[in-house]
């Protein structure tokens, strides 16, 4: 007799597929929030499986800050073409040009917080009622309390103290006009699970995750890539290092680590031995103890 139990990766995969099908069944116009990072790539891969042999039924929505790694955009466009899916782009630059938001000033300026307005505008414009994200509960303490189906009010805000209870496998996706949901199919995955899954499934990911030579500067304890948006202060100096990125955000705030891991196997080994959390290299989370909670309440990813 064969054994009737799943290993943990199969169980997580099955759970995520269940959530994705539940989103499709309960909402009118769901999209996948696609950042080009590994988590949204894994969600997209799971969506392919959830609806096979049908095409993936979701459009991919990318909130484009304009401060991208060029590699991310190329990866996004290639993936869209191979999926035959629709791409929706919300542009932070347009939000700035229209005066919806104002750019931050100074050396540590980022467009991270500005994304919230662009995201909510795009959700409204395209009548999206559920935005599927790659958020994980192990990432950050505010995310540890996030639901699979997470309600947003008509201002797009998250109210962590007034969340709907989620029991068993019963997900309540009911909403009133103007409200929407965020859904997080890989809530229960850890960074290690994501990497092990990418390795097992041999999922294509942007080259930025692999160790490569790059021009960088040392800032806030990590290697920030050189880019046209980078403002140097007098003491900072551009050097070449072999680096890779553990998470991908804007090129202005995503710090790399020095690494020789240039294959998936080596990355998995490196992550397993890692003694820092992956968001430790993200300037957006370093601003305060509750930086993520505050942004999430306003409507952040």
């Amino acid at each position: 007799m064969s054994k009737y139990y799943l290993n943990y990766l199969d169980e997580l995969e099955s759970e995520a597929i269940f959530i994705l099908r539940e989103v499709w069944a309960q909402f009118q116009n769901p999209v996948i929030l696609f950042s080009g990072g590994k988590d949204s790539i894994v969600v997209t891969h799971l969506a392919k499986k959830a609806f096979y042999p049908s095409k993936i039924p979701f459009a991919l929505m990318h909130v484009d800050t304009g401060h991208n790694f060029p590699e991310t955009i190329k990866f996004r466009d290639d993936l869209i073409e191979s999926l035959g899916a629709r791409l929706i782009v919300g542009s932070v630059q347009e939000s700035i040009d229209q005066g919806r938001v104002a750019e931050e000033k100074g050396k540590n300026a980022t467009r991270n917080a500005l994304q919230i307005t662009t995201l909510l505008d795009a959700i409204e414009e395209h009548k999206v009622d559920c935005a599927i994200g790659g958020g994980r509960r192990d990432e950050e303490k505010a995310r540890a309390k996030e639901r699979f189906f997470s309600h947003r009010d008509d201002f797009g805000q998250w109210d962590p103290k007034n969340q709907r209870p989620e029991l068993w496998n019963l997900f309540n996706g009911k909403y009133f006009e103007g409200e929407h949901f965020r859904a997080f199919p890989i809530s229960n995955w850890t960074e290690m699970d994501v990497w092990n899954y990418i390795l097992r499934e041999n999922i294509e990911i942007p080259s930025l995750y692999f160790a490569h030579e790059r021009e960088v500067i040392w800032r806030n304890n990590s290697w920030i890539p050189k880019s046209e948006y980078l403002v140097l202060d007098g003491k900072e100096e551009i050097v070449t290092r072999k680096v890779r990125f553990r998470t991908l955000g804007d090129i202005t705030i995503t710090g790399g680590i020095e690494s020789d891991a240039d294959t998936l196997e080596k990355i998995v080994q490196e992550v397993a031995a890692m003694r820092q959390t992956e968001r430790g290299n993200r300037a957006d989370d370093k601003r305060s103890e509750t930086a993520m909670e505050d942004r999430k309440k306003q409507g952040y990813f």
């Binding site: 069944a25 959830a50 303490k141 496998n169």
Partner: protein, 418 residues
């Protein structure tokens, strides 16, 4: 870490700050090396600011701003750690009486519950309430951790006395598997590492217990139940006639060639194919997500259930349910709700409150029929169309419901069919 066949175990911890719950979770994470350096540094610096001597392990589970300010857990928080043997998901829930609903939420998906007892105080009202909820939610394994053994000089008779107290009241509950472990979360005795102070304890430490307990039988493998979530119709050239019924096996096993029956229509057919996440399968079992194709063209949609002809759930519009009220607004008399049951949804009405459980004494009260937040009651519910249900004790998936208030769209109650 290499890819392996290790399983996933979900457990819930109920208790308050005073029981040392946060310290226990912090200890598990810390001693199993699941804490990262930057997290440790943050906790070390906060411990120093607060004037604690060493690292305050409880700070690892700090949550949202309000919770930190008040020093309590309000909502369910999920935490993760992995050992070479298993991956663990902890549903960390608050223990106070006003958070019963959060305990119920955390317990709903758990394989195991950890109940903390302070060795100095023994079994108290809160302990009984936690055990009752574990029993009500049919958690297969309960581990009673008798904590703060260091404060009672690691004495065996204290431990033995608490076991006796616990077994006395728990004998009236349905808990299939209870274990007792004497620990000190603060000092680490019998959490990850074996205690050097309690030679008289022959059992395994907590982590080893969690790593090795048998959980494959926690899911019902007998009654095949496949609730249909959605229908896949690719309508591409390659798959022109493909019509797949997508869903996740709730229980039991289905094989290609099996004779099946579709509920509620009652049409019968045979399974032609099963597509799993890794390709075609010969058989599927809970909790696999699959897509099933049938030999015959039958009208099937979301909310229907595929089962074996000779083993069917009960189709009924009259449900007897143990209901936990989750919302701060009480139930309105004769109000209409939407009931969600697997992938099925129907309108429903609470017809009668049969009795309420007094959560302090665990006695039944029949003269108080108002449903307030955190109340646990036995009720009768009438639905507009039949649901295909099993007893919750037999099947946690097809035996559970939630109620949604149509006026607010909020999830207001969780129910277990009896």
């Amino acid at each position: 870490m290499e890819l392996n066949n290790s399983q996933l175990l979900r457990f819930t911890t109920a208790g308050s700050v005073d029981d040392g719950k946060s310290t226990l979770i912090g200890r598990l994470l810390y001693d199993s090396k699941s804490i990262f350096e930057d997290q440790l540094e943050a906790v070390e610096s906060t411990s120093k600011q607060k004037g604690h001597a060493g690292v305050d392990l409880a700070l690892f589970t700090d949550g949202l701003r309000d919770e930190r300010e008040q020093g309590i857990t309000i909502d369910v928080a999920y935490r993760y750690f992995t050992t070479p043997k298993r991956k663990f998901i902890i549903a960390d829930t608050p223990g106070h009486i006003q958070y019963t609903r959060n305990m119920v939420t955390g317990a709903s998906t758990a394989n195991a519950a950890i109940i903390l007892v302070d060795a100095r105080h023994g079994v108290i009202e809160q302990t009984k309430r936690h055990a009752f909820i574990a029993s009500l939610l049919n958690i297969p394994h309960v581990i009673v951790c008798i904590n703060k053994m260091d404060l009672v000089d690691f004495k065996e008779d204290v431990y033995q006395k608490i076991i006796n107290q616990f077994e006395e009241f728990a004998s009236k509950m349905l808990i299939p598997d209870i274990r007792f472990i004497p620990i000190s979360a603060l000092l680490g005795d019998n959490v990850v590492n074996r205690s050097e102070h309690m030679d008289w304890y022959q059992g395994a430490p907590l982590l080893h217990t969690l790593e090795t307990m048998h959980i494959s039988s926690d899911i019902n493998k007998v009654d095949a139940r496949f609730p249909v979530q959605t229908v896949l119709r690719p309508q591409s050239k390659e798959f022109v006639d493909y019509r797949g019924y997508a869903g996740r096996m709730a229980s039991g096993v289905l094989r290609v060639g099996d004779e099946i029956c579709v509920l509620p229509s009652g049409f019968t057919s045979r399974i032609k194919g099963i597509d799993g996440a890794q390709g075609p399968l010969k058989e599927c079992f809970a909790p696999q997500s699959v897509s099933i194709t049938l030999e015959d063209d039958i009208d099937i949609s979301r909310g229907d259930m595929i089962v074996r002809s000779n083993n069917q759930p009960e189709a009924t519009q009259d449900l007897e349910v143990m209901l936990c009220w989750l919302n701060d607004k009480p139930a309105r008399p004769r109000a209409k709700y939407t009931v969600m049951h697997t992938s099925n949804e129907q309108k429903a009405m609470i017809k009668e409150v049969i009795y309420k459980i007094d959560i302090h004494t665990l006695n039944r009260v029949s003269d108080d029929t108002e449903l307030n937040m955190n109340d646990i009651c036995k009720v009768k519910i009438r639905t507009t169309k039949p649901l295909m249900v099993d007893d919750y004790r037999e099947n946690r998936t097809t035996g559970s419901i939630i109620l949604i208030d149509d006026a607010t769209n909020e999830t207001v109650a969780a129910g277990m069919l009896v």
